[in-house]
């Protein structure tokens, strides 16, 4: 199954495959100096390799430009001078917007008829009402119930139970001994858009994936978004309750617990054994130290560097301070 709209034809031709730098230059309507090469994918400045293309969202990334190993970087006039000699600079007016344009060309088709038939391991039971896309691999002794959808190239380990109406998008990995409860969605697109001057939002295609390690349990109607580049990672032994939102590119540390209706914004990284109470939430791009506990309704907006502490409230404070504050607020009402 491939999309074939005339608008998408260009994207479809190269969808998810390598692209020559010359083709990219044509799409971005810019020039380049140096020799062309085969671009395998898009990536961040930090993670991009020689065969990959990156971009500069704003000038605070200057250090990362200088140390980037990317084969090519999309920059504007002001950041061009920081591009290393070995890297091709593609100068455009709005690098972030052009990155969004280009991301579409690296988006693979949703399903791919050219992939091999799915493989189902010994002892696994797959409901006839479930759909396993081509290229998927299911391990041994799994139970896959009705109306489950497993996308192209997705891998599921051994002994994993997937309850009805769970959707797992393409290219994801689910480990051994996992349980995913009904109606959860794994690998849906992260919420990423580049906004133009007219206030319209252009989709940044989310070409990464989700990896769920072994022994993870995920409640019902939870959503875990796929990474824009790279991976959204749920490490071993994590327990996730119902209706939890995990944003793109998050890393949830081993044996962490996310209680119902909590929300983790994009690119936040947690150490091991973090506990997020019910309806608690974090901002994006934070780092939470191991063994941190957040009480219910906590709102975390800054990174936590010291491990083993308990926090509460929004704005966040240490739990003992929050208790003291609540006592004071209660007394305010007595006068």
């Amino acid at each position: 199954m491939e999309k074939t709209s005339s608008k998408d034809k260009e994207a479809k031709r190269v969808g998810g495959k390598n692209m020559d730098l010359k083709e990219i230059v044509k799409i971005l309507k810019c020039d380049f100096e140096g020799s062309s090469f085969d671009v395998t994918k898009m990536n961040t400045l930090r993670d991009a390799t020689k065969s990959e293309i990156s971009f500069v969202a704003n000038s605070k990334y200057i250090k990362e430009i200088q140390s980037s190993n990317a084969g090519a970087i999309i920059v504007d006039k002001s950041t061009k001078e920081f591009v290393p000699n070995a890297t091709v600079a593609l100068v455009v007016e709005n690098p972030y917007l052009e990155m969004a344009t280009l991301s579409k060309y690296f988006a693979p088709p949703i399903e791919d008829e050219t992939l091999p038939q799915p493989k189902i391991g010994k002892g696994s039971v797959v409901s006839p009402k479930a759909e396993i896309a081509k290229g998927a691999i299911i391990g041994e002794n799994c139970t896959i119930m009705a109306h489950v959808y497993i996308g192209a190239n997705t891998q599921v380990g051994d002994n994993t139970i997937i309850y009805p109406s769970v959707t797992i998008y393409r290219d994801c990995k689910v480990g051994n001994d996992c349980i995913i409860h009904a109606n959860s969605t794994i690998g849906s697109d992260g919420f990423g858009f580049a906004t133009n001057k007219m206030g319209e939002h252009k989709k940044i295609y989310q070409n990464g994936n989700v990896v769920i390690e072994d022994d993870v349990e995920i409640g019902s109607s939870t959503t875990i978004d796929r990474a824009v580049f790279g991976t959204t990672l749920i490490k071993r032994g994590v327990r996730i309750d119902n209706l939890v939102q995990v944003g793109h590119n998050c890393v949830i540390g081993e044996y962490s617990v996310l209680v119902a209706q909590s929300g983790i914004s994009g690119s936040t990284t947690m150490g091991r054994n973090v506990v997020m109470g019910g309806q608690s939430a974090t901002s994006g791009h934070l780092s939470i130290a191991p063994f941190t506990t957040m009480a219910a309704r906590s709102g975390v907006t800054k990174s936590i560097t010291k491990s083993g502490l308990t926090f509460a409230g929004f704005p966040l404070m240490e739990h003992r301070l929050w208790l003291k504050l609540q006592g004071k607020i209660a007394r305010l009402m007595k006068h």
């Binding site: 074939t4 009402k129 969605t185 697109d189 914004s265 504050l325």
Partner: protein, 316 residues
């Protein structure tokens, strides 16, 4: 349906001509073919100018009825209205309608269910276990992921993406209450309209209108777990971040930004270019555009920061 049938269903007498009615609507929007209702004295002006020919009203409002109206006097208009909505609710499945029309180069997975009366444009992708209800219309190039449910009569535009597990057009949360505390369903006979270039995240819920439409306008993007209640109108190019909820009939101007876990009361009107930071709790309309707000109760973001600093000092 004739007005007399409504009266007999409600076990009440009607006064005036036995006019024919095709649906129900609120006073201000009702057409001559629709049954309207007036709950309270404050609707007397709207009642006078209503185009409807048939009404459910309280006895105190009889004098404000337009000339030549047919009406039923109810003890509890709200309860009678709820009972009457049942008469106009549509069947979930209508086998007598013609088979779905699916446009050129569209792909419908064999595991998806498309009801009769559906129209699907060209280059549309509908994935496994998706459900497309009776009379739903879908534009061109739209992508519907697995396990999405679209209830009957909904309209989805072109170039939309709806992620897995989302539900479009479920019943709005509407009940009338009896004296003994039971809740009588107000059947939600409206629909949902999603305009072009809208993206809806995973496990969202967009409820259908009581009457008329819940509207998501062009270019708006919803993250995961967004709840949009019945009769909302979400302006063009707005952004809603995960776990946000909007109460019934609230209207947003264009280019609003709503951060995670925020919530809005019902019947509000939000000016264009308003921004709400995470966990905002909005209970009043915003009339001035371009503001940035925080907190619950809601306040200007700068003020909220000052307040938080003061609260912090309480502990020193």
């Amino acid at each position: 349906m004739f007005f007399s049938e409504v009266a007999s269903h409600l076990r009440l007498a009607f006064i005036g001509k036995d006019v024919e009615i095709d649906s129900m609507n609120e006073l201000s929007l009702s057409l001559p073919s629709q049954l309207a209702f007036a709950l309270h004295k404050k609707y007397s002006l709207e009642l006078k100018s209503s185009k409807a020919k048939a009404f459910l009203i309280t006895s105190s409002l009889i004098e404000h009825l337009p000339h030549d109206s047919s009406y039923i006097v109810c003890d509890d208009v709200s309860l009678s209205m709820a009972e009457a909505t049942k008469l106009f609710s549509k069947k979930l499945v209508e086998p007598q309608l013609s088979f779905a029309i699916v446009g050129k180069e569209s792909y419908v997975d064999a595991m998806a269910k498309i009801e009769n009366g559906v129209t699907i444009g060209s280059n549309v992708t509908i994935m496994a276990s998706a459900y497309i209800g009776t009379n739903v219309k879908i534009g061109d190039n739209t992508l519907i992921y697995p396990n999405v449910t679209i209830y009957r009569d909904s309209v989805v535009g072109s170039n939309c993406i709806i992620h897995a597990g989302s539900v479009i057009g479920a019943d709005g949360f509407g009940f009338s209450h009896t004296k003994t505390g039971e809740h009588i369903k107000v059947f939600q006979n409206g629909n949902v309209i999603i305009e072009d270039d809208v993206e809806i995240g995973a496990n969202c819920a967009i409820d259908r209108a009581i009457f008329n439409s819940t509207i998501i306008r062009r270019g708006t993007k919803l993250d995961n777990f967004i709840h949009i209640a019945h009769n909302c109108d979400i302006g063009e190019h707005s952004l809603f971040v995960a776990q946000t909820g909007v109460g019934g009939s609230t209207k947003f101007g264009h280019n609003c930004v709503v951060s995670g876990q925020s919530a809005f009361s019902d019947n509000l009107s939000i000016a264009p270019f308003s921004t709400f930071t995470a966990r905002s709790g909005v209970t009043k309309s915003i009339t001035q555009s371009g503001g940035v707000y925080s907190g619950f109760p809601l306040m200007n973001h700068k003020e909220w920061k000052r307040l938080q600093a003061k609260i912090k000092k309480l502990n020193e």
